[in-house]
């Protein structure tokens, strides 16, 4: 009814009605609105002035220092380095095409209707292709060693493999925790609670200083792999808790029905319980993945050249000292775009699945 009235009036009048209703309904509301407008102008004004009107888009570091605005030249100058790290300049087409392939494939497989076994095979092929592209050494592509990889590809790599391995490990841990084998249950609980109780940094320290001690003499792992293992160890504990939430939401009747059909433990879990449980927890799984994507930035502390580390390195260039705010805002924007689109996606899935749910 209200909307019909709104439609019948002139557009400007609609705005006025809307403003009256949402901003100036009571004296208190009016006061709040006015204060907020003043604050917005006094904060955003100088910021836009700094970012847009006073900014330096062309020139040298000297021009930037003399101007009062943001130094966009710095971003332009260091763009390649921040995004790709120490990857050889002449070979940049390889990480670029890998990332385009990777991201467009993620885009393609985000639709729930495409989730089937063939998708898994396609992913496997894609990973092999990307590995070949990045690593080189075959078909006349020059080899690039692992320690040259950096920037955004590295961040994506750490998150992707982190997710890929921590998800199944998390499922196993959750099953162990929910199961009725006391010894296994205790081991799983200990692992999950221990990992969740400590900060991720301590695991990364462990990866960088303790893993080498664990291995017999002469065998060494690259640091990247050690950090990746630490991330997987960390994330599996969180994934386990997410999956456990799903397992707990499954009706007891489903277990009983599976038992009545004479399925054994693994048949029961794989064919009946997990498909339902994992579907329920898809939104929190995506949220945990967002957390993991953000947490990969912690590898800075053990000096791996991920996106944040390349930014920090770029800032140490003596020619370009003192433009941290610009650099961090730029990298923050990159992280935001990734995390925000994931969280929108999570919201979408939540809506879609809640329609399909019974009761």
């Amino acid at each position: 009814m209200e909307e019909e009235i709104m439609k019948s009036k002139a557009p400007f009048e609609n705005t006025a009605i809307w403003m009256k209703k949402n901003l100036f309904s009571t004296p208190v509301n009016t006061a709040i609105s006015l204060i907020v407008i003043c604050l917005l102008i006094s904060f955003l004004g100088p910021f836009i002035q700094w970012l847009v009107f006073d900014s330096v888009g062309l020139g040298t570091a000297q021009d930037c220092r003399e101007a009062s605005g943001a130094c966009l030249v710095f971003i332009k100058e260091k763009f390649d380095f921040i995004i790709f790290g120490f990857y050889p300049r002449t070979e940049l087409w390889r990480p670029i095409s890998s990332m385009i392939l990777f991201l467009s494939f993620i885009w393609w497989s985000k639709e729930p209707k495409r989730w089937n076994k063939r998708l898994l095979w396609r992913w496997l092929k894609l990973i092999l292709l990307i590995a070949l592209l990045m690593r080189g050494g075959l078909f006349g592509i020059a080899p690039v060693s692992l320690d040259k990889w950096g920037g955004l590809p590295l961040t994506l790599l750490l998150s992707f493999f982190g997710l890929l391995f921590s998800y199944p490990i998390g499922i196993l841990l959750a099953l162990a925790r929910r199961g009725n084998l006391p010894l296994i249950k205790i081991m799983s609980i200990t692992y999950i609670e221990l990992i969740r109780g400590v900060p991720m940094i301590s695991l990364l320290f462990m990866a960088s200083v303790m893993f080498p001690l664990f291995l017999p003499e002469g065998i060494t792992f690259p640091k990247l792999l050690r950090a990746q293992i630490a991330i997987i160890m960390f994330m599996s504990a969180y994934m386990a808790e997410v999956v456990r939430g799903g397992l707990m939401a499954i009706d007891k009747g489903q277990y009983e029905a599976a038992d009545a059909l004479g399925l054994n433990y693994w048949q029961k879990q794989i064919k009946i319980i997990l498909p339902q449980a994992l579907k329920i927890v898809i939104p929190p799984t995506v949220n945990t993945s967002i957390g993991m994507f953000k947490d990969t930035s912690l590898v800075v502390i053990i000096a791996l050249s991920d996106l944040l580390m390349t930014t920090k390195t770029a800032l140490k260039d003596p020619k370009w000292l003192g433009f941290s705010v610009e650099a961090y805002l730029f990298v923050g924007l990159i992280y935001f775009v990734f995390c925000y689109s994931m969280s929108r996606y999570s919201n979408r899935l939540e809506r879609e699945f809640s329609y399909g749910a019974h009761s």
Binding site: N22, I184, L194, V209, L213, L298, I301, V325
Partner: protein
């Protein structure tokens, strides 16, 4: 043959196999570690804690010199973590509740601003935010010579915030003691008042007691002591401010970053909590004649906390765990001190173990407190 068809026996065998595999795995790691440590001549055990640390710590709550032991250095780091955790969580909760309520405000602009605040803050890594704040405080703020001076005696510069402190006087400990006593005593009195109100319905005002116990009592002690009122102001020395007290940019950046980040998560939890309270409660409150803020304060928030306490607990723990990122901006928290210790002594295993133990202690402590609180406020019986 029979053995394999008995699920119970099979389960036992399975568990033994898994346990044995884990034991072999851990044992191999342990053996390798022993070998490696021996060949590198690294001593094991916590004996190193008694050695001289030999490094300085920029911010300490207890006396510390670089000639003190590692044990003392770690204690300094521990106290710093504790300080960050307590102040940070208090402010993050307060800000989170404010933003969460703003998010549900009938005012469109307020609600949109807090929504955007939450989205932006939650979707950027905390470490990046900490580095951003740190660079803002150390690069964008003016140099010491041109420090901002917003209030008399307070200076803000790249070296942090310098502010005046009261000079020592023998009466100040007594003033503090009477203040603490006043708060404790007021707590008991308000408990008595509440019990009485619940029994008799008699309404007794509480604020006069608060005024007398918390304000007038310390004031009287201060007057009796001769009313000392001399301040020590920070003055510009050759390189930095001298005198007064200071808040370092490291601490400031850590606090601002942690508080904003955690507050955004807390706000979402508070919002979900408020939304979980049924609409009838709002209607009942307004039919009792309560206005918006009264309904929130007395009816809605207390009920929403029942839902919000468990996730808030994990945010409290997250803040404490996240404070370990201080190592990236040079604030000497426990992890930073332990890291320096590990680098100097090579006692990596002991260092990592200490870090894990300290954070597990924090985890257990806060979940204990929050569980007690949760038990107290949760519904006694479901009618």
């Amino acid at each position: 043959m029979n053995f394999w068809y008995d699920p119970k026996k099979r389960a036992i065998l399975f568990q033994i196999v898994i346990l044995a595999m884990t034991a072999i795995f851990v044992g191999t790691l342990f053996y390798n570690t022993q070998e490696n440590l021996e060949s590198q001549n690294i001593a094991t055990g916590f004996g190193f804690l008694k050695q001289e640390a030999g490094f300085g710590i920029s911010e300490t709550m207890i006396d510390y010199r670089s000639s003190d032991t590692y044990w003392r250095a770690l204690k300094v780091g521990f106290l710093n973590t504790l300080k960050v955790g307590m102040i940070g969580n208090f402010l993050a909760l307060a800000l989170g509740i404010i933003v969460g309520i703003m998010r549900l405000s009938p005012n469109w602009m307020l609600s949109k601003i807090s929504q955007n605040f939450i989205e932006v803050v939650r979707n950027i890594p905390l470490l990046l935010q900490l580095l951003f704040w740190y660079s803002l405080f150390t690069e964008v703020l003016p140099q010491v010579k041109e420090a901002l001076n917003p209030f008399y005696g307070v200076f803000i510069s790249q070296r942090g915030v310098n502010y005046p402190i009261l000079l020592d006087h023998s009466i100040w400990p007594w003033v503090k003691a009477s203040f603490v006593f006043g708060i404790i005593f007021f707590f008991f009195i308000s408990r008595r008042i509440r019990l009485k109100r619940e029994q008799t319905g008699q309404l007794i005002k509480r604020w006069p007691y608060a005024l007398v116990l918390i304000v007038l009592l310390p004031l009287a002690v201060w007057l009796i002591g001769g009313a000392p009122w001399s301040w020590q102001f920070p003055t510009l020395g050759r390189f930095n401010f001298e005198g007064g007290a200071e808040v370092t940019p490291e601490f400031l950046a850590l606090m601002v970053g942690l508080i904003i980040y955690t507050a955004a998560f807390n706000a979402e939890i508070v919002r979900a909590g408020i939304l979980s309270v049924s609409k009838g409660q709002w209607e009942a409150a307004s039919s009792l004649g309560l206005n918006y803020f009264q309904s929130l304060r007395f009816i809605i928030l207390p009920q929403s906390f029942r839902v919000a306490i468990p996730p808030l607990t994990s945010q409290i723990l997250n803040l404490i765990k996240n404070s370990s990122l201080a190592v990236a901006i040079g604030f000497p928290d426990f992890v930073a001190v332990a890291n320096t210790t590990m680098n100097q002594t090579g006692q990596a295993i002991e260092g990592v173990l200490l870090i894990m133990m300290v954070y597990l202690f924090f985890s257990l402590l806060s979940s204990l407190f929050m569980n007690l609180y949760h038990k107290r406020i949760s519904l006694q019986s479901h009618s």
